[in-house]
C-alpha cells in the first residue's frame, strides 16, 4: 500500500478519525490505534513477516528493561551486546547472508578451490534495515543512560512499527520518539496543516519529479544507440530521481506523523546546496547519517584518535563503507560508500571536516559564484556516486563511465534534458528553484511567511494541479522500499 495510492488515502482517513475523534482524552487509545494501524499496514505489505517484527519488538523491549535492571555493569553490557548481536544478526541474515555465501564461493573459486556453499532462498522482510537500526539504537541509548527503558509495551511497539516510517524511514531515534508517545497528544491545527503541506510537497516530488525522471531515463536507454551526452543526462536524471523519490517519501512520512501529532525526524535538508561532501551527508538521508555517526563513526574515531588525521580517515572510510553496504548486498554499494569516504579525505586533511558551511548569497538571493561552483562540484561528484549506486555491478558502473567518456559527450543533448515530452528538465529546475528559495524552511512548501490565506491556498492549488497534470501514471514503487 503505497502512500500515493487511493487505498492508503482511505486507510489513513479511517486511522485519522479513529485516532483523534474517539476517546480523545486517552493516550492509550491513540497508542493502540497507531499500533493496530501499523501492523495492518505492515501486514498488507508482507503479513508473513509480522511474527518477526512482533518477536523482535518483544525481545528488545525485554532487553531494554534488563539492561537497566541488571545488577552489575557487566550484566548490563551483556544485555546490550546481545541486543546489538541480535539486531545486526537479523540484518546480516536477511540482507547479506547470500551475498557473503556468494562472495566466499567466488573467492574460493578464484583461488582454485571448490567448495559447496549453497545460498538460501531468503525473503527479505520489508523495512528490516530501518526497524533493526531503531532497535539497536534503543538498546545502546538505554545502556548509555541517554534514556529510560520504555516500560509501556504498546509505546515501544509503536516506536518500532510506526507505519509512516517502517518501510523506508526516516530512522527515528528512541528518546525523541518514545517521549512523544508517553504523553497524551492534543490536536494541534498548525502542526496538522504543516503536515498536509509537507505531504503535498512530498507527493509533488514523487509523482511529478521522480516518476517523470523514471520515464525519461527509460526513454534514454530505450534508444538503440545512446550517445555519451545522453549517458550524462541519464546520470543527472538518476540523481534527481533518487532524491525526489526518497525525500518525497520522507516528506510524506513526516507529514503523516504531524497529522497524528508526532514529530518524525528530518531526513533531508536540501542536499544539492551543500558546498562540501561532509555538508552533503549532513543533508542527505540525515537519519541514517546521524545514526552511523553516533554509533559507528564517533566510537571508531575515538578509538583511533591517537593516530590523528589518519585515524579519522580510517574511521570515515569504515563508516562510509557501512553506509554504502546498508543499502544492500551488492559490491556496488560498498564501492559507492568507499567512493564517498574517499571524497572526505581532502576535507579532513585541510581541516574543514567539522566546519559548517552555509551557502553564501549575493543580490536577489542568488547563490554566490564561489558557493555555486562548490555546489556544482559536489553535485557532480555525487552524480558519479549515483552511477555506481545504480549499477548492477562494479563492471557495469565502469562501463557506464567509459560510455560517458567519449568525444560525443559534447554533442548537445540539452534538448532532451530541457524539452522532452515530459518536460522533466523544466520540472527539476522548478523544484530546485523552489527549494533554494525555501532553504531555510523545514520543507519547501512551508508557506507560513505568506500572510494571506488566499495566497497560500493559491500555491497549494497550483501544486495540486501540477501533480494531477504531470502525473506520470507509472505508479512506481518508492526506490528506498527495497532497502
Amino acid at each position: 500500500m503505497l502512500f500515493t495510492s487511493y487505498g492508503f488515502l482511505l486507510f489513513f482517513v479511517v486511522v485519522f478519525f479513529l485516532y483523534w475523534l474517539l476517546l480523545r482524552e486517552k493516550k492509550w487509545w491513540k497508542n493502540w490505534v497507531i499500533l493496530v494501524a501499523s501492523y495492518v499496514f505492515y501486514g498488507i505489505a508482507d503479513w508473513k513477516m509480522i511474527p518477526l517484527l512482533a518477536v523482535a519488538t518483544a525481545i528488545f523491549y525485554w532487553l531494554g528493561i534488563r539492561i537497566r535492571s541488571a545488577k552489575t555493569e557487566k550484566g548490563s553490557n551483556a544485555y546490550k551486546i546481545i541486543g546489538i548481536v541480535l539486531g545486526v544478526g537479523t540484518l546480516v541474515y536477511f540482507k547479506y547472508f547470500n551475498f557473503f555465501v556468494q562472495s566466499f564461493s567466488d573467492m574460493f573459486s578464484a583461488m582454485g578451490l571448490q567448495v559447496n556453499l549453497h545460498a538460501f532462498n531468503i525473503i527479505i522482510p520489508l523495512g528490516v534495515s530501518y526497524f533493526t537500526f531503531k532497535l539497536i539504537s534503543y538498546v545502546i541509548d538505554v545502556y548509555n543512560e541517554e534514556m529510560e527503558p520504555c516500560r509501556d509495551f504498546v509505546v515501544f511497539a509503536d516506536y518500532v512499527a510506526f507505519f509512516p516510517t517502517i518501510m523506508a524511514g526516516p530512522i527515528d531515534r528512541p528518546r525523541a520518539f518514545i517521549s512523544q508517545l508517553q504523553v497524551n497528544r492534543s490536536f494541534d491545527r498548525g502542526m496538522a496543516v504543516d503536515g498536509c503541506r509537507q505531504i503535498l510537497w512530498g507527493l509533488f516530488k514523487k509523482i511529478v519529479i521522480a516518476d517523470n525522471c523514471t520515464i525519461a531515463i527509460d526513454e534514454v536507454f530505450a534508444m538503440s544507440q545512446v550517445p555519451a551526452s545522453l549517458y550524462l543526462v541519464g546520470a543527472l536524471l538518476a540523481i534527481f530521481q533518487l532524491y525526489a523519490d526518497f525525500s518525497g517519501y520522507s516528506d510524506m512520512a513526516i507529514g503523516l506523523g504531524k497529522l497524528l501529532g508526532v514529530n518524525v525526524t528530518r531526513n533531508f535538508r536540501y542536499p544539492f546546496f551543500a558546498t562540501n561532501i561532509a555538508e552533503f551527508w549532513r543533508r542527505w538521508h540525515m537519519s541514517l547519517t546521524k545514526w552511523m555517526t553516533d554509533y559507528v563513526f564517533t566510537p571508531l574515531s575515538f578509538v583511533m584518535r591517537k593516530w590523528g588525521k589518519f585515524g579519522l580517515i580510517v574511521a570515515i572510510l569504515v563508516n562510509m563503507l557501512l553506509v554504502g553496504l546498508w543499502h544492500g548486498d551488492n559490491w556496488t554499494y560498498a564501492v559507492f560508500g568507499l567512493f564517498h569516504g574517499l571524497l572526505f579525505i581532502p576535507l579532513i586533511i585541510t581541516g574543514g571536516f567539522n566546519a559548517r558551511q552555509n551557502e553564501k548569497t549575493i543580490k536577489f538571493g542568488l547563490p554566490h559564484p564561489v558557493s555555486l561552483l562548490k555546489m556544482l562540484c559536489i553535485f557532480g561528484l555525487c552524480t558519479c556516486g549515483i552511477i555506481i549506486f545504480n549499477a548492477e555491478s562494479v563492471g557495469d558502473a565502469l562501463g557506464y563511465f567509459r560510455s560517458m567518456a567519449d568525444v560525443d559527450i559534447w554533442r548537445a543533448s540539452y534538448r532532451f534534458f530541457l524539452f522532452p515530452k515530459n518536460y522533466v528538465g523544466f520540472l527539476v529546475v522548478f523544484m530546485l528553484v523552489v527549494e533554494w528559495i525555501q532553504r531555510d524552511r523545514e520543507h519547501a512548501l512551508d508557506l507560513t511567511r505568506i500572510k494571506y490565506r488566499w495566497g497560500r491556498w493559491l500555491i497549494y492549488y497550483i501544486v495540486i494541479l501540477a501533480i494531477i497534470f504531470f502525473d506520470a501514471m507509472s505508479a512506481d514503487q518508492f526506490i528506498y522500499l527495497k532497502f
Binding site: Y6, F187, R189, I468, F469, F470, M473
Partner: protein, 305 residues
C-alpha cells in the same frame, strides 16, 4: 480539529465547485468537435447521426483501411466506420451497443478482426475518447461504469481531463464518416519494431463476441468477418496463425458467417501500400476498399440468395 476539518472540506469543495463549470465547458466543446476522430465518432453516434445501413467495426485497421466514401459509391449504401485505434472486441461490442441506443440498427456489420482482436483488456483506449460523455446515462450504463477509470476520474469534475492531458494525441484530419486514413509512407523502423507477435486469445472476449454474433443474427443483421490486409512479413511472424484461423472458421461454420481474408492478397505483398506492417496508407486503403466493396457486394448477394 473542527476548524481543520472545515478548512479541508472548504479547500477541496472550492476546487470541485470551480471545476464543475470548467468540466461542463470542456465537455460541451468536445461534444461539438468534428475534426478529431476521438470525439467525432461518439458525437455522431450520440447525436443519432450515424443511422447507417452498413457499419464497419474494428480497431485502427478498420478506421484506416475502409473508405466510407468509396463504399457508399460502389455499394450504393450509407456506411459508417466505427473503427478506433487500440480497441479489442470486447470494447468494440460495447460501442455497438451504444450505437444501437441512439441510431437505427444497421443492416450489415463488417467486423474487422486480426490476431489481436480476441485479447481481453479492461482498459478503455484511447481513454480520453469517452471523457466528454460522463454526463450521459447510456454511456455510464454500457461503458463508463465498468471501465477501469478510478473513482477520482469518474466522479471528480475536470480531473480526468487534466490527468490525461499530456498523453492525449489528437486524431485530426479530413474525416469522412469515421474513416481517417494515414498519408505516411512505409517505415522500415515500424517493421523492425514488430519482431514477432502472437495470436491473442481470451475466453472472456470470445464469450462476449459469440453473444454479439448471436444478437446480430437475432436482429436479422448480416455480418461479415474481415481479415484486412497486413504486410505479409508480419503475417509470417504471427505465432499461432493456425489457431486463429481455426477459431474464426469455427465461428463462421456455426453461425454461417462469411469470412473475407486479405492476408494473402496482392496488396499485402507491396510495401508501397503500407505505412507500417499493420496499416495501409491512403493509397492502399483506397485500392483495398474498392476491391473489398466489389467482393462484399458479391458475398452479400450470394448470402442473400
Amino acid at each position: 480539529m473542527k476548524k481543520f476539518i472545515i478548512d479541508i472540506v472548504i479547500f477541496f469543495a472550492l476546487i470541485i465547485v470551480a471545476a464543475i463549470p470548467v468540466d461542463l465547458a470542456i465537455s460541451a466543446h468536445k461534444r461539438s468537435v468534428t475534426d478529431d476522430l476521438r470525439y467525432s465518432q461518439w458525437n455522431d453516434m450520440l447525436d443519432g447521426n450515424v443511422n447507417a445501413d452498413l457499419i464497419i467495426m474494428g480497431a485502427s485497421r478498420a478506421r484506416m483501411h475502409l473508405d466510407t466514401e468509396i463504399l457508399d459509391s460502389v455499394l450504393g449504401v450509407n456506411s459508417y466506420n466505427l473503427g478506433m485505434d487500440g480497441t479489442w472486441l470486447n470494447y468494440q461490442i460495447k460501442k455497438y451497443d451504444v450505437l444501437c441506443e441512439y441510431n437505427v440498427k444497421p443492416k450489415v456489420v463488417v467486423q474487422c478482426i486480426s490476431y489481436g482482436s480476441l485479447k481481453y483488456d479492461d482498459d478503455w483506449y484511447p481513454i480520453e475518447t469517452i471523457f466528454p460523455y460522463f454526463t450521459n446515462r447510456i454511456m455510464w450504463k454500457h461503458i463508463i461504469w465498468e471501465s477501469n477509470h478510478n473513482y477520482f476520474q469518474k466522479f471528480l469534475p475536470c480531473y480526468r481531463y487534466l490527468n490525461y492531458a499530456r498523453f492525449a494525441r489528437p486524431m485530426k484530419g479530413v474525416i469522412h464518416k469515421g474513416y481517417l486514413p494515414s498519408d505516411a509512407s512505409w517505415s522500415v523502423e515500424g517493421f523492425t519494431k514488430k519482431d514477432s507477435t502472437d495470436f491473442l486469445y481470451d475466453e472472456r472476449t470470445t464469450v462476449v463476441f459469440e453473444d454479439y454474433v448471436r444478437r446480430l443474427q437475432h436482429d436479422g443483421i448480416k455480418m461479415v468477418l474481415l481479415f484486412p490486409p497486413q504486410y505479409i512479413g508480419l503475417t509470417q511472424r504471427i505465432a499461432g496463425l493456425d489457431r486463429m484461423y481455426k477459431y474464426y472458421d469455427s465461428i463462421s461454420a456455426v453461425y454461417n458467417i462469411p469470412i473475407m481474408d486479405y492476408h494473402y492478397d496482392s496488396i499485402s505483398y507491396d510495401t508501397q501500400y503500407f505505412c507500417e506492417p499493420t496499416h495501409l496508407n491512403r493509397t492502399g486503403a483506397e485500392l483495398f476498399t474498392r476491391k473489398f466493396a466489389k467482393d462484399l457486394d458479391s458475398v452479400l448477394n450470394s448470402a442473400g440468395n
